[in-house]
C-alpha cells in the first residue's frame, strides 16, 4: 500500500497582478510505498519543498491530486498521523526544548501522562536530555535541529516528512539522525525526506525520485539505480605481488579486463567517527594528569 500518491500534481505561482508565472511543479506522479524511506532529490528550485508543502496540505495544488495515508492531503486525521521537520527549525525561541515538545504534544491532543513519558524518551533519544531546560534561543543550530526532529517524532507518526533533516548537524549528529531514521523506518514508519546531501540520501533511502525544473526525471530503488552492471568488485584480504600477478594472468586468460587494483579508502565520515570513538575510549593525557594529581593530593 502506498503512503503517498500524487497524480498529475502541478503548482503554479503567480505574482500579485498575474504578470509573471512560475511553474514550481509540473505533472508529478509519485508513489511512496508504506514503510520505506523515500528521498526527494534535486537542485534548488526543482520543486522539492513545494511538493512537500502540497503533501502536507499547506499548499493547494493548481492541478492534480495528492493522497496521503489514504486520505486527501491536509485532512485532520492525516495531520494527526504526520510528523514534519521543515527546512529551517521554526520554533518558539523563548520556550525550552522540553516545553517545545510539550507544546507539540498538546497540539496533537496527547494526554499528559503519555506526553511526559514520550517527551523524556525523545529527549534522551536525540541526546537533548541535558539541555532540555535551556531556551531554544540559546541552542546551536544542530541542537535546534535535534529538537525539531524530536517534535516531528513526538506523536508517533505513521508518516515522517523531513526537509533537509541533517542540515546543520555535525558528523556525529548526522550519523545519529541517519541511524534514527533507519530505526524509525524499521518500525514501519514511512519517511519522505528531501536533501541536498547525496551521500545521506544514499545511506538511508530505499527509494528516490530526482526532480528538475518541477518534473520528475528519474525514480526507483536506490540499489537498482546505483548498481553498475558493467563492473564487478571483489574484496579480498592482503595478497603478495606474486599472487596478484598470477590472478591477473588468470583473468586475462579468461578474457576478463582488469580496470583497477588498489587499496580501498575509508570514507571521511567513517574515519572521523572512528577517531572520535577511539579518543572517547582512552582518557587523554590531560585527563590522566589531572587524575594523577588528584590521586597525589588525596
Amino acid at each position: 500500500m502506498e503512503a503517498i500518491a500524487t497524480q498529475g500534481l502541478e503548482r503554479t505561482y503567480r505574482s500579485r497582478w498575474g504578470r509573471s508565472t512560475v511553474h514550481a511543479v509540473r505533472g508529478l506522479d509519485l508513489t511512496v510505498p508504506s514503510g520505506t524511506v523515500f528521498g526527494l532529490l534535486g537542485p534548488n528550485g526543482s520543486g522539492k519543498t513545494t511538493t512537500i508543502m502540497m503533501v502536507l496540505g499547506l499548499l493547494p495544488p493548481t492541478a492534480g491530486q495528492v493522497s496521503v495515508l489514504g486520505r486527501p492531503a491536509g485532512h485532520r486525521a492525516t495531520r494527526k498521523q504526520t510528523g514534519f521537520l521543515p527546512e529551517e527549525t521554526y520554533l518558539y525561541e523563548f520556550l525550552s526544548g522540553e516545553e517545545t515538545l510539550h507544546l507539540v504534544g498538546r497540539l496533537h491532543g496527547m494526554p499528559r501522562k503519555q506526553r511526559v513519558l514520550r517527551v523524556e524518551e525523545l529527549l534522551k533519544r536525540t541526546k537533548m536530555w541535558e539541555a532540555r531546560k535551556r531556551r531554544l534561543g540559546t541552542y546551536s543550530k544542530g541542537m535546534a535541529r535535534r529538537i525539531g526532529l524530536a517534535q516531528a517524532l513526538l506523536a508517533e507518526p505513521d508518516l515522517l516528512v523531513l526537509d533537509e533533516p541533517t542540515s546543520g548537524l555535525d558528523p556525529i549528529g548526522n550519523r545519529e539522525v541517519k541511524d534514527l531514521l533507519r530505526e524509525v523506518a524499521s518500525a514501519g514508519v514511512t519517511v519522505l525526506l528531501s536533501s541536498h546531501l547525496l551521500a545521506d540520501v544514499a545511506d538511508v533511502c530505499d527509494q528516490i525520485a530526482i526532480l528538475h525544473r518541477g518534473r520528475k526525471i528519474l525514480s526507483g530503488s536506490v540499489n537498482d539505480l546505483l548498481a553498475d552492471a558493467d563492473r564487478l568488485v571483489w574484496e579480498t584480504g592482503e595478497a603478495s605481488d606474486e599472487a596478484q600477478e598470477k590472478i591477473r594472468a588468470a583473468m586475462r586468460a579468461e578474457g576478463v579486463e582488469v580496470h583497477d587494483v588498489g587499496r580501498p579508502t575509508t570514507s571521511l565520515e567513517r574515519l572521523f567517527l572512528d577517531v572520535l570513538a577511539r579518543d572517547q575510549e582512552s582518557p587523554n593525557q590531560e585527563d590522566a594528569d589531572q587524575n594523577d594529581g588528584r590521586g597525589a593530593s588525596s
Partner: protein
C-alpha cells in the same frame, strides 16, 4: 485552543511582560496618589492612564502574535498539527484578551489603590429618591416637601435651572434651604443634602424661576459603600473592553497580513475610543435641527446644502447616515468606563462590565470564525 492560549501567556511573561506590568502599575499608583490637587482629579488621571495603557496593550497583544508567527514561519508548527485553524485563532485571541484584560485590570487596581492611599472618595449606593418619579420635579419659591424613606442618609440632587415665563438670565449658583441650613452649588453640579427635614426651599430664585430636580439624577444616598470595592468592580468594564479589543485585533491580524493588520487594529482602537466624539461631530448643527423641526424642510423646499444657509443637502445626509451606520458597528470603549460615577461617589458596581460583556462575546465569535478562516488561508505567508 488551550495550547495557543498557554503559548501566548508564556511569550508575554518570558519577554519581560511581568516587569513592564510591575513598572506600569507602580507608575499608575503614584499618578493616582499624587497626580492632582483633588481626589477626583487624581482618580481621573490614574484611571485614564490605566485605561489608555490597557487599550494600547490590547492592540499589541492582539495583533502581534499571529503576525509574528507568520513572519517567522512558526505557524508551520500549528498548521501541520491536527489543531483546527479556528481553534488556533480562538486560542490566540483568548491569550491576547487575557493578557490585555489582565494588564488593564492590574493598572486600574493600581489607580484605585493609589487614590485610596490619598484618601479615597466618599462612596454611597444611591437609589432613585423615594416618592419621586424619574421625571423632573420642580421646586417653586415656596418649596417642596420631600418624602424620605427610612434608611436614607442624604439626598444627592443634580440641579437644573429652568426659566419660566419672562425670566431672563440664569443665576450662577442655586441656593436651597433644608432644615434651616442653606446649601449652595453651581448649576448642573450634584448637591448632597443631609436629610433632616422633609422640606426643601429655593432661596435665591427670582420671580418665574423654578429649579428642577432632574429625575434620573435625583437620588437618595442610602448606604455608605467601599470606594475600593466600587473601583475594583468598575475596573472590570474597561478590562473586558480591552479584552474585546485584543480579540478584534487578533482577528484583524489573522485576516490581513503585516502592516494592513496593524493599520486596521490601530484604526479600530481610534474609532472605538473616539466614537462618541465622531458621532457628535456628524450631527447636524443646532440651527439645522431647529429649522428642520420648525419647517420639516429647508428654505427652498429642497435640499441645497450651503446655499440654504442652515440646511443640509441630500448628499451630506447620506454621508452622515453612512458614517453613522459604520460607527454603529464599532463599540464605544468609553461606555465601559464608569469611573466618572466612581469619582462622584456613586456606586457603579459592575455596570461597565455588563455593558462590555456582549461586545467581548461578539469579538470571540468573530475571532473563531473570521480568524480561523484567516489562519487557514495564511499558513504559508
Amino acid at each position: 485552543m488551550g495550547a495557543a492560549l498557554r503559548l501566548r501567556l508564556a511569550e508575554a511573561s518570558r519577554r519581560g511582560g511581568l516587569y513592564l506590568l510591575l513598572g506600569g502599575s507602580v507608575l499608575v499608583f503614584f499618578v493616582a496618589a499624587f497626580g492632582d490637587d483633588t481626589i477626583s482629579g487624581r482618580l481621573a488621571l490614574g484611571t485614564d492612564l490605566a485605561v489608555v495603557a490597557g487599550y494600547l496593550a490590547a492592540v499589541f497583544f492582539g495583533a502581534l502574535p499571529l503576525a509574528s508567527d507568520r513572519e517567522t514561519k512558526r505557524n508551520l508548527l500549528s498548521a501541520t498539527s491536527p489543531v483546527p485553524p479556528a481553534g488556533w485563532a480562538l486560542g490566540s485571541a483568548a491569550g491576547g484578551a487575557l493578557l490585555a484584560g489582565g494588564v488593564t485590570l492590574a493598572f486600574l487596581v493600581a489607580a484605585i489603590l493609589g487614590t485610596a492611599a490619598a484618601g479615597g472618595v466618599d462612596t454611597h449606593e444611591s437609589k432613585p429618591l423615594g416618592g419621586f418619579t424619574e421625571s423632573t420635579l420642580w421646586i417653586p419659591r415656596a418649596g417642596v416637601a420631600v418624602q424620605v424613606k427610612p434608611g436614607v442618609h442624604r439626598l444627592r440632587l443634580a440641579l437644573r435651572v429652568a426659566p419660566v415665563a419672562e425670566y431672563e438670565g440664569t443665576p450662577g449658583h442655586v441656593t436651597l434651604e433644608a432644615g434651616g441650613v442653606e446649601y449652595s452649588t453651581p448649576v448642573g453640579r450634584p448637591l448632597d443634602i443631609p436629610v433632616k427635614t422633609g422640606r426643601i426651599v429655593l432661596k435665591n430664585a427670582t420671580e418665574g424661576l423654578h429649579v428642577g430636580l432632574v429625575g434620573g439624577e435625583t437620588r437618595a444616598l442610602r448606604e455608605s459603600r467601599s470606594f475600593v470595592a466600587n473601583g475594583l468592580l468598575a475596573s472590570f468594564g474597561p478590562a473586558l473592553g480591552a479584552a474585546a479589543l485584543a480579540a478584534a485585533a487578533s482577528t484583524a491580524s489573522a485576516l490581513f497580513a503585516g502592516p494592513v493588520a496593524a493599520f486596521l487594529a490601530a484604526m479600530l482602537l481610534f474609532l472605538a475610543s473616539t466614537k462618541g466624539f465622531l458621532l457628535a461631530a456628524i450631527q447636524p448643527s443646532p440651527a439645522q435641527q431647529a429649522q428642520t423641526a420648525a419647517t420639516g424642510h429647508d428654505d427652498n423646499g429642497h435640499a441645497h446644502g450651503k446655499a440654504g444657509g442652515e440646511t443640509e443637502g441630500t448628499g451630506r445626509k447620506l454621508a452622515r447616515g453612512m458614517v453613522g451606520t459604520a460607527l454603529a458597528t464599532v463599540p464605544n470603549l468609553h461606555e465601559f468606563d464608569t469611573f466618572d460615577e466612581v469619582a462622584a461617589g456613586e456606586w457603579s458596581g459592575v455596570n461597565g462590565a455588563t455593558t462590555a460583556l456582549p461586545t467581548l462575546l461578539v469579538a470571540f465569535v468573530l475571532a473563531g470564525a473570521a480568524g480561523g478562516y484567516g489562519v487557514s488561508k495564511r499558513r504559508l505567508e
